[in-house]
Symmetry: C2
Subunit: 300 residues, 2 copies
């Protein structure tokens, strides 16, 4: 990490890419150690991976797994609020949210340097694919897309599957987000990796870099690592957490092992990029109403 030569606003983001085991307390402990490491390296906004306190339990549909869920102010949030306060940082902490009996969300909280809750986001786009049976577990979010004001930047929280949707990135940027954060759990199915693995990883990076380009924002993606077993062969989570600038240039990228990245962002680059590539100016807002339809085949 090098200091920016400019006196303009900067934010130092920390990405915690880790593996998880079956014990929630141990996962939380590990996250705390990595948060401390990031803070010591100067990180001001630290982001953890999706559902960091547990294995990625959505590989099977099992109602017992709802026992892992917690209220939005539960033990995981409390532990993370303490960590944020201890290091005087902003912390983006995903949680498996128990909102009411039978109403669960894939969520995150944005915690400020005093441990206060600055934001709460519920994953809007819920996948359901082999080994990613999330529609069984999570009700779709109902808090919409948002920017959360923090001491160092306006952050736009999104979660995993949201990353494939240009609409989500656009709406979050239009709320004023300067940095989109995507806590994620994505990996290879072992039987697909040889044939499709490289393409899948590249598509995942490309779509997120495109959100940076289309919207003139920084993008931070934080993924998990490690193989997690399941009756269907499990998932090899591919890591490769990365940060890109508002023109899609990758500033830092992790490998496929546990890693903490700390990256300094020159926030002024967002406006500089938007001045030269003024996409917001020319949006045809008179012609986008079809976006609110499922498909445009005359039956909408």
């Amino acid at each position: 990490m090098t200091k920016s030569a400019q006196p303009s606003r900067v934010a130092r983001v920390g990405l915690v890419q880790m593996s998880t085991g079956p014990d929630k307390a141990e996962n939380i402990d590990k996250a705390q150690r990595f948060i401390e490491q990031a803070a010591k390296q100067g990180a001001q906004i630290v982001c953890l991976q999706e559902l960091f306190a547990s294995p990625y339990f959505c590989q099977t549909e099992d109602a017992k797994m709802f026992d892992l869920a917690e209220p939005v102010s539960g033990e995981t949030t409390s532990a993370m609020a303490e960590a944020a306060k201890r290091h005087s940082i902003t912390l983006i902490a995903p949680i498996f949210e128990r909102r009411a009996p039978g109403v669960y969300h894939n969520s995150l909280v944005v915690l400020g340097p005093s441990g206060q809750r600055l934001g709460h986001y519920r994953k809007m786009h819920i996948p359901d694919d082999p080994n990613y049976y999330e529609k069984f577990y999570f009700a779709p979010g109902d808090l919409g897309f948002m920017a959360v004001s923090t001491p160092h930047a306006n952050v736009g929280p999104l979660i995993c599957w949201d990353q494939w949707y240009p609409e989500a990135a656009r709406l979050t940027a239009m709320r004023g987000a300067e940095i989109l954060f995507y806590p994620t759990a994505i990996g290879w199915l072992p039987e697909e990796k040889a044939e499709f693995g490289a393409q899948q990883l590249d598509a995942w990076k490309t779509i997120q870099r495109s959100h940076a380009i289309a919207n003139g924002v920084f993008v931070v993606a934080v993924n998990r690592v490690g193989h997690e077993a399941s009756p269907n062969g499990g998932i090899q989570f591919w890591g490769h957490s990365f940060v890109c600038d508002p023109f899609g240039v990758v500033l830092a990228e992790a490998g496929e092992e546990e890693q903490v990245l700390v990256v300094e962002l020159a926030l002024g680059k967002a406006e500089a990029t938007r001045r030269n590539w003024p996409f917001f100016r020319d949006r045809r807002i008179d012609a986008y109403s079809g976006i609110g339809h499922r498909y445009l085949d005359g039956n909408e």
Copy 2:
């Protein structure tokens, strides 16, 4: 070009990447020679670059240039209709459209194998940047986003600056387009090339590949080449016309000289990709209404 091993639907697309000179008849002649070359190589849908019949005259604001404009059924369209008929192909031919005195568009026509007009698209997003003074010349399109049914595929016509807008790609795909075509005129400003050239080219490719990924469609981008002078230093058009598949994998890419590319597309790959990456299924159409606003700062 190799034949697909599958018996499924295929379309062979032809990309004509060329330089232009001041003489319209010569540009049309050259285009015709390249169209013939593409057809002889088996192309069924040939796409020309944006404003292929003239230099990129938008580098300065000069009312005399409106003399270059033609009615949608003018001489350029007629010559192209003849070429389509002669080779029994579908042809995507950009034109500088004179609609009425003072009403001009940056347009294209989609011409079928009998020379008939199958579609007419008017560029929706109009740029205005140093050396690209298009807002002076072109009224924004009012025909919306469309898919055009042709004998070989449903094609989604878009033009240049449209390529930076996820909304345009999404709406065109939702109309049923299987292949997005982006006739383009983009290049380096000489004074920027050393510092930013590689990033600009990469961003251009990335955003278009992302439309393929987000929408499960093929993308065909057709750019011009050559340096065209202007009082401001001119533009070095960067070529690099390319085709990518519905997961963003580049199938073919041109260099920075005149070139004809012919690429066979296995159209079934679009549905195969969408089955495995079912992004349309999970769109949150209840939560996208903000897309119709300029910005979401409380003043919309």
